[in-house]
């Protein structure tokens, strides 16, 4: 460990060299300038970095990384900072590398249906640029007005349309990355595949641990001739869950299939007046798209399935404006819940769909146990749950209780054969739950992959993959009397 004096001297040297490399104003080191970068969308964790850098060119990023490798300084990448797992939380002895200035769409090729963009381009900006050509970029996280494509790749983000159109990994074709050692690599290609290992797949969802993404080529899809959304109300959450399975069993893959429970419905309704039935225990939003005649036929079929599954009400959006409103309610669900409680904590487990009723039951029991309310929002089609735990950070001990509750939810997801994170990433937040999901040899394999790209462990250190030491400590405190959480559940 360096002592305080050498640390200060190193900081001076680092800042001096960064200033030599970068334009004026691209290196921030005064505490008040660092403050806006102290957290991402998970505001419970805050930390100031040594400095923030705002490079403008790939060459500058290469120089920064070579310098950091030489001086042994950690680097944390940051897109828009909307991440919900603390992935972009700064490192106290490291640089925060913001990609905010990489905000240009470099090329939009309607013939190849590709857009080549810088990593700081916002998700929605791509679809907006493609719109005049009748094309769009399919993955649509609810944060799409703000989050960046670089962040989307780093998290393998999904959206309400990924049941049919896939996640980020299915919709990107080529990446350019800069490695910790400052090498620029092109992964994938503008053809459908590339020779060698599938490194775009490895890089997608790697949470800034394996390289800095400096360019992304995404696929664009033709907009469907028609998209129509059906809203179904249920007086029982489990029944709504079963209806989801019935739709899929009928051989229908909706463009989107989302579910909200009573608390989430009411919060969304109060916030955006989406036209949801306030008295329902659950609603399903089912979007069907394709050619006109096909969509009409599917709507009839889905209506029947929903009614047969016990829906108390089924209605289709009457026009495009109503369709947009239905979706707006869903996409605004997080901020809407944010209005009914001082704070909320968003979970992101994924489970096999058929286990939904028992997991919901488990969550409501835990809710009673911890004395904290939960609003549930799901990507029901693909089993991705977003329980939102309502709490008040100003009440002593409540944040800790909330985190403990959240951890229990994730462990429940693992116990039914699911995962601790569907789309928000592990980051800092779920690092201990990784010990529940993976065995030591698997974690060791992850570390070996990390070393292959980042031998000195400088990119986003301490995130995403726990050390075995950390897991041992976590296990010691967690497994009471040799019992695992949820011993009553069958294990996978």
């Amino acid at each position: 460990m360096p002592n305080a004096n050498t640390a200060a001297a190193n900081k001076q040297e680092l800042l001096q060299q960064l200033q030599d490399l970068l334009p004026v104003g691209a290196v921030l080191s005064e505490p008040e300038d660092l403050r806006p970068y102290e957290c991402d969308g998970l505001s419970a964790y805050t930390r100031l970095p040594l400095a923030v850098v705002l490079p403008e060119s790939v060459t500058q990023i290469q120089h920064i990384l070579r310098l950091c490798t030489r001086l042994g300084v950690p680097v944390v990448a940051r897109g828009a900072g909307t991440g919900l797992s603390g992935g972009a939380l700064p490192h106290e002895h490291g640089l925060l590398l913001s990609l905010a200035k990489f905000n240009r769409i470099l090329e939009l090729d309607p013939r190849r249906r590709l857009a080549r963009v810088e990593p700081g381009v916002r998700n929605l900006a791509i679809s907006q640029a493609a719109e005049p050509h009748g094309l769009y970029y399919a993955p649509d996280p609810s944060s799409q007005i703000a989050c960046t494509i670089g962040g989307n790749v780093a998290e393998n983000s999904g959206g309400v349309h990924c049941l049919k159109y896939g996640l980020t990994v299915h919709n990107i074709q080529q990446l350019k990355i800069v490695t910790a050692e400052g090498e620029l690599l092109t992964l994938g290609s503008t053809a459908l595949d590339a020779p060698g290992y599938d490194l775009p797949a490895l890089m997608t969802g790697s949470e800034g641990m394996l390289g800095i993404i400096v360019e992304v080529t995404v696929k664009l899809l033709p907009k469907p001739e028609r998209a129509q959304v059906v809203l179904a109300a249920f007086d029982d959450v489990a029944r709504a869950g079963r209806a989801v399975g019935e739709i899929i069993a009928a051989g229908i893959i909706p463009a989107g299939l989302e579910m909200m429970d009573r608390l989430a419905i009411q919060a969304a309704e109060d916030f955006v007046h989406a036209g949801y039935p306030r008295d329902a225990e659950a609603i399903l939003l089912c979007e069907l798209d394709g050619i006109n005649a096909e969509v009409s036929a599917l709507i009839l079929q889905v209506r029947e399935i929903l009614l047969a599954s016990g829906a108390t009400e089924v209605r289709s959006a009457r026009d495009e404006a109503e369709r947009a409103r239905f979706w707006q309610g869903r996409k605004a669900a997080f901020p809407a819940v944010g209005r009914i409680a001082p704070d909320y904590y968003c979970m992101d487990g994924t489970i096999p769909r058929k286990r939904l009723p028992e997991v919901l039951q488990g969550i409501s029991e835990l809710s009673r146990e911890y004395g904290l309310a939960v609003a549930n929002v799901f990507h029901a089609g693909d089993g991705n749950l977003h329980p939102l735990i309502l709490y008040d950070a100003n009440r002593p001990g409540e944040l800790e209780r909330t985190e403990a509750f959240g951890a229990r939810i994730l462990e429940l997801c693992v116990a039914v054969g699911g995962t601790i994170t569907g789309e928000h990433g592990v980051g800092m937040e779920k690092i201990d739950q990784m010990c529940v999901q993976f065995q030591p040899a698997e974690l060791e394999q992850f570390h070996a992959i990390k070393r292959a790209f980042d031998p000195h462990g400088l990119l986003n250190p301490g995130k995403a993959v726990p050390t075995l030491h950390r897991c041992a400590e976590f296990g010691a405190m967690h497994v009471h009397g040799g019992r695992l959480p949820f011993p009553e559940l069958e294990r996978f």
Binding site: L202, D382, H424, E442
Partner: protein
């Protein structure tokens, strides 16, 4: 053969190989032995390790052991009106799931639905230290840890011995027809591009012998509307797609080396000597040619793609060479999984 879990035997074999530093040549049924660089090492067959472990039609997931015949998987899915949407080529009656994933081979629906790698949700494998590892799972979305499962796709077994793979499956389309149009290659590419920008239910395309074939699938309404847009004639029942996928179409019966060119779809016809068959909207082009490998590689590279010696030809140079820095990270990754270089050494590149 019956369902059988041979994990333990396979793990013991790997441990013995680690101890004696014996390279292993991983095979399923051997249907894809022709592919890639010359296999070397002591044969290790996955065929005894077979059986569908879990299939949940309403979860859209199937999990099977790597030695399970593809035919068995496809028959099981078909009974529930589901399918492997990437339509894998078998290249042999006993083709296994493991080989399909290791080669990442995908059939005619590839540009419309995705490749094998797009459907992989999780896997179990043995790494080069003889450890049993499990990544991903049976759920549709999972970002816990690096995506090791997808990384196995196309790695030709060089990163581990696949034991089990979980795949997303999809409903079979209600109906399909094939349209055929008389067009030369350049005009066919033009048309394909125009149509690709429209929301049409095209699920396969192929140009051969002056004809463009398009498969449409979906509801009757969708097919009818699209047929009107495309023009041409309808082929009601055809084995064309199967023949193309399995390379049983007369085009493939030839003595010349068979090259696979993977190109940006709008690449104009390349002026290389030989005979062409286009698939995947122009993104996958088969070339029968005796032209020098360097010429074919240079033309593919210049167009932004790559070329593979698929059958015959000089298999020791099967794949387009990687840039030096990229190869460097490939080697480090290989080291991370297989530190003693035991799995299919040299099958993909001499250095891996």
């Amino acid at each position: 053969m019956r369902d059988h879990d041979a994990t333990e035997q396979l793990q013991q074999r790997v441990r013995a190989a680690v101890a004696s530093r014996t390279p292993l040549c991983i095979t399923g049924s051997g249907s894809k032995t022709f592919y890639g660089r010359e296999p070397v090492g002591e044969p290790l067959s996955t065929r005894a390790h077979r059986g569908i472990v879990n299939y949940e039609p309403t979860e859209l997931v199937i999990t099977a052991r790597s030695g399970t015949p593809l035919v068995e998987i496809e028959t099981t899915l078909a009974a529930q009106r589901q399918m492997l949407a990437f339509e894998p080529p078998h290249f042999g009656p006993q083709a296994t799931l493991g080989g399909t994933i290791a080669t990442n081979f995908s059939g005619p629906r590839r540009p419309h639905a995705g490749a094998a790698r797009d459907f992989v949700l999780g896997c179990r494998l043995i790494n080069g230290r003889g450890e049993l590892l499990h990544f991903g799972g049976e759920v549709m979305k999972n970002v816990a840890g690096y995506d090791v499962s997808r990384l196995q796709c196309g790695a030709l077994g060089t990163l581990g011995i696949l034991l089990e793979v979980s795949l997303k499956v999809l409903p079979r389309p209600a109906r399909e027809i094939t349209r055929v149009l008389e067009l030369d290659p350049a005009a066919a590419l033009q048309h394909l591009h125009r149509w690709a920008c429209l929301p049409l239910p095209v699920s396969a395309s192929c140009h051969v012998d002056g004809r463009l074939y398009l498969r449409l699938e979906g509801s009757a309404e969708a097919i009818e509307a699209a047929s009107a847009t495309l023009g041409g004639d309808t082929l009601e029942a055809t084995t064309l797609w199967h023949e193309i996928r399995e390379q049983q179409h007369p085009f493939f019966a030839d003595e010349r080396p068979l090259w696979r060119l993977s190109l940006p779809s709008d690449t104009p016809p390349l002026s290389l000597p030989g005979q062409w068959l286009y698939e995947w909207g122009g993104s996958q082009r088969w070339l029968l040619s005796t032209a020098p490998a360097e010429d074919i590689r240079a033309a593919a590279h210049q167009a932004g793609g790559h070329a593979t010696v698929f059958r015959r030809g000089d298999r020791q140079q099967a794949f387009q060479p990687l840039p030096a820095t990229l190869l460097h990270y490939h080697r480090r990754l290989k080291q991370a999984f297989d530190p003693h270089g035991l799995f299919n050494p040299g099958r993909l590149y001499p250095e891996l």
